[in-house]
Amino acid sequence: MKIRAITLNNLRRFTDPARVDHIADGLNVLSEPNEHGKSTLFDALQALFFKPHGSRDKDVTSLRPHAGGAPEVTVEVETDEGRFTLAKRWLQKPAATVHRDGTLVAQSDEAEAWISRLLGGDAGGPSGLIWVRQGMTDLTAGTKKEQDAALEARRDLMTSVGAEVEAMTGGRRMDAALARCREELGLYATGTGRPRANGPWKEAQDRVEALRRESDALTATARDLHDALADRKRARRDLRELEAPEAAEARRMRLDSARQAFDAAERHARELEAETRKVEMAQLKADSARTALDTLRDTLKEQAEASRLVAEAETRATEAKAALEAQRAARDAADTAVTETKAALETAERDEKLALRAKAAREGADRRKELTERIARAEQARKAKEEAAAMRTGPDAATLRRIEGLAAAHATAIATRNATATQVIARYDAGRDGLIRDGTTPLQDGQELPLTRATRLTIEGIGALEVRPGEAGDDQSVEAAAEALRKALAQAGVEDLDAARAAAAARAEAEKLHDQADLVLNSLAPDGIDALRAALASIPALDDATDAPDPEVAEAALAKARTAHDDARLARETANERLSDLRDVASHAEATLTSLRDRVKRAEEALARAGAPSEDALAEDHRAAIEALEMARARHAETSRTAPDLAAAKAALDRATSVEQQARDEIARLKPLLARLDERIQRSSGEAVEERLEEVKQELEAATATLAGIEHEVAVLIRLEKALETARNESRERYFEPIAKELKPLLHLLWPEAELTWGEESLLPDRLLRGGQDEPIDILSGGTQEQIALLVRLAFARMLAASGRVAPVILDDALVYTDDDRIERMFDALHRQAGDLQIIVLTCRQRAFRELGGKALRLETSSEGTVSD
């Protein structure tokens, strides 16, 4: 079926007939702004195809215009059998008709049946499947009824191309088996396949673990028991051996004999020690005798030597003293010579200075005179300069020029004012001169009196004449100029302009005088008078030393005296050095002598201390001591040769003692050890460790078997669950294969490699897999959802077409959230599908859909244009 034209009448806003015509195969686009009736068009189609003409339900009544009337819809469709015109009218005079080429084919219920057949008999039909109402951007929107109808339509379609979903996926039997399997598995394991807490699996594991631990503990205890048994056996044997009487006797005898041997050895060692002491004593004695003898001999030799040296030193000391005395005299003579030459030198120096001064005084006398005069003249000039400076008062030239300017301005101001002011000129009759007065001043005849303000003129004998000049005349400039002039004069300290001029001339004269005096002073004393006075003071005055020597003679005498003085000083220094050397020699000789005398004294004292034994007696003592030493040594050697080995005796004794001690310790250790072991063995065997261990081992074996059984059971259940799930998924995929096949190329226009999984209940995609991500459809963005919804519908349309039930796809603003990039690809999808389908797109997005292409439709009303048929 393909729709070719749609006509509406009395439908909502279309009170006049409106028509969409020339609907082509493939893609058709009706692009109109909002409120132009696109949704009405959609509803009209819905009504025509699905609302019986007798219906008065709210869908139908909602079609009626405000003005009332019977809604009418006429659709021209083309089927394999030809072109038919379907028309319906509701509410008033309801009717349904099917015409073919103007011939009535069916009407009323027959027409409804015809239409139903045309749609393939199913109730929801293409509406739910492939018609998208405005605003229904996802797959599951709409009323409950619409949803059910859509589901039914999908189920019908899917079943028509495949098998029953129930048959494919196992349905409730599969669910029951899976639920049962999971329930049983749930007893043992958690969802992740781990043992469930408090479940039998976990319990079996715990039991095995606990038994293993217990078994280990018991094994350890049993081992301890066995060890204790072995230890006890060993301890008993050892104790028996140690406590055997013959062994104890042997140990005691060995100890006794070792002790005796050791005692003997120790005695001998003490004797040897005594002999050693004796040898040492004899050695000491011999050494001491030898020392005494040697000391005596040395002292005697020292005494002789020191005495000889003293004699020599005495001679040398005497000689040195004599030389010293001689030199001291020589030095004193040199001192005297120095004193004398120094006096001579001082005299010569004085004479020379005197001579030089006299010479300078003679040379400076003229200059002194000249300077003195210059000073007097300079003083005169300075005085004149000071007097002139005192006279230098009165205005200077600039001030005078300013005063003159101001006076001129004043005069000008008066003249100006008088020229513009009201003027009164008295012309007296003869003899009446001066009868008119301004105040007390009479007006001169023929003389203009300018009046700058109201003036009262007294006319004698007549009265007063008041003259009031115009207000504009008085500008105060005269007063201002007068005031400026007065201020300037006051500043200059003069009465008037003439006085100012006189004062200025006096000032100029004084300044001239001052400058002249200054010039004189400067020429006389460029650096000031004080400089002249200082120069004068620096010239020595010629005093009374008129007998001063001749400078040259004085200078020669000075040189001579200086040479003599230098020579004398040198001689004195040489003498001093020599004296010092000789003094050192003398004191050294004295010191040597003193020390040698001490030596002699010490030797004599030593001899006195020795009590003066003879050298022979001492030598005899020494020989006797040597003999005694030899004897002691011989005795010591003999004792030493016969000594037994003390260390060996001690070692033997130690060993015997230690053996005995060890035996005693061992017995002391073994007895309590045995008691402990007895106690331990008693306890352990009383506790029936082995019996218990045997039991635990058996329990462990059983528990392990139980655990293995449970693990097998869990493995079986997991394997079964997996098999069931895998099979169900596989069959589900197989069931959805036809639609998936249709959808795949469309989907890949938007997302290459993307896939959809299908809900078994809803028969709709429920998850989108793309880029390794698995997202439920309902969390995707609005745009993505509407795109998927549209693509799915296109795919369903293809399936419908494939099953011989071609129906137009009608999309009423199905893409509202889609961005520009995606919309391009959606357009591609539409074009791709439009090849063998009829797609009618209603949209208000005129600009966006301009790029869609396809056949453009117009909704024309009779008021706008001709309604063609």
Binding site: G170, E691, L724
Partner: protein, 376 residues
């Protein structure tokens, strides 16, 4: 007049049987323990019945080296009660001399007068006509033939030489600790009483294992016995008679199955009719069975099990035979059938490990049972 005695061994008194599953309200373990203690009394009865004055216990009288005082005292008391019999107790590997030293000390100290502990390898006169040559076990695991000293043990002329030893005659571990099977000849024995094997076995005319008087495993398939031995004189062949002493029967029965056989009926057919309370039974199914048969077999086993002292059905050796009809019962098509096919494929895949195959097979059986339960 012939010399008569009872030859027994491996009483393993004190064994706990913790490996036998016990229901919450059951006491099978206690019963099994009690049966071991009761063996003393049954041996005494056997001695009386056969006119024997001696009971030779060839080792492992006690299960462990350190039985609890209760176990020891009650056993000794039971022997003391049979006052007309002399008990000759030989240390075995379980109650060997080293580990069980306290045990043997206790026995030496506290045993009644008619109980003789044979803790040393020296000849003991049983009466003027017979000498007992004991070979006590010193360690849990020995490294030499424990009967070697028998060769050099002296006896008076004309006395019966009766050897008593504990150990195997087959050297399983190649440790050299096996008893020479011809020891009776090398040691000039009239009889060699051996212990250690829990099953009855005659090694030769004069060398015998009596087996445990009370069985403790499924291996031997009969109740325990002791041997009543009579020897007319030195050199005369011993007359050995088995006397049944076992209270419990430990039995393992094979159940070979094939497809299209009523497995439940086959199981019922092999079960003993009476005395089930004293029977510990293990049924080992083998062959192949279909999925429904498996379910039926398990149900039949579950029905029968509570009547026995212990019952277990082992199906690890039973292969599953898959029939299209059985799989159709799961589903003729669709996902359930897909799952069943996948599991069957895995169960029969040679590439998978045996564990994985078993898991897959059991998973399929489980699926089958779910579907069948849901259908019923």
């Amino acid at each position: 007049m012939a010399f008569r005695f009872i030859h027994a061994s491996d009483l393993h008194i004190g064994r706990k049987f913790a490996n036998i599953p016990q229901p919450q309200d059951g006491n099978i373990r206690g019963r099994l323990m009690e049966a071991r203690h009761g063996a003393i009394g049954r041996l005494a009865t056997a001695a009386r019945d056969t006119g024997a004055q001696h009971v030779l216990l060839a080792g492992d009288t006690f299960d462990t080296a350190t039985p609890s005082p209760t176990v020891i005292r009650q056993a000794l008391a039971a022997m003391g009660d049979a006052a007309e019999v002399t008990w000759w107790i030989l240390p075995g590997n379980h109650d060997n001399l080293r580990d069980a030293e306290p045990l043997w000390e206790t026995i030496a100290r506290d045993a009644p007068g008619n109980v003789m502990a044979l803790t040393e390898a020296v000849p003991r006169d049983m009466d003027p006509t017979a000498v007992l040559l004991p070979c006590p076990v010193a360690f849990r695991a020995g490294a030499s033939d424990p009967t070697e000293p028998l060769v050099t043990m002296a006896s008076n002329e004309g006395q019966l030489r009766i050897g008593l030893a504990h150990g195997g005659v087959t050297d399983f571990t190649e440790s050299g600790a096996a008893i020479a099977p011809d020891r009776d000849r090398s040691a000039r024995l009239d009889y060699l009483a051996l212990g250690d094997w829990h099953g009855r076995m005659a090694v030769s005319e004069r060398v015998h294992y009596c087996g445990a008087p009370e069985q403790d495993r499924f291996k031997h398939g009969r109740r325990g016995v002791c041997l009543a031995v009579a020897i007319d004189g030195p050199g005369a062949p011993p007359q050995v008679e088995e006397v049944e002493t076992g209270a419990f029967l430990w039995s393992e029965i094979d159940l070979p199955l094939h497809p299209r056989q009523d497995a439940a009926a086959a199981l019922t057919a092999i079960l003993p009719e009476t005395g089930r309370r004293d029977v510990l039974l293990r049924v080992v199914a083998s062959g192949r069975a279909g999925l429904p048969d498996m379910v039926d077999l398990q149900r039949a086993a579950d029905r029968a099990a509570p009547e026995f002292a212990h019952f277990e059905l082992r199906t690890s050796g039973l292969g599953t035979h898959y029939e299209t009809a059985d799989l159709d019962e799961i589903d003729r098509g669709g996902a359930l059938r897909l799952a069943a096919n996948a599991l069957m494929q895995d169960a029969e895949a040679d590439a998978l490990s045996e564990t994985d195959r078993d898991v897959a097979a059991d998973a399929l059986a489980r699926l089958y049972s779910y579907v069948r339960e849901a259908a019923q």
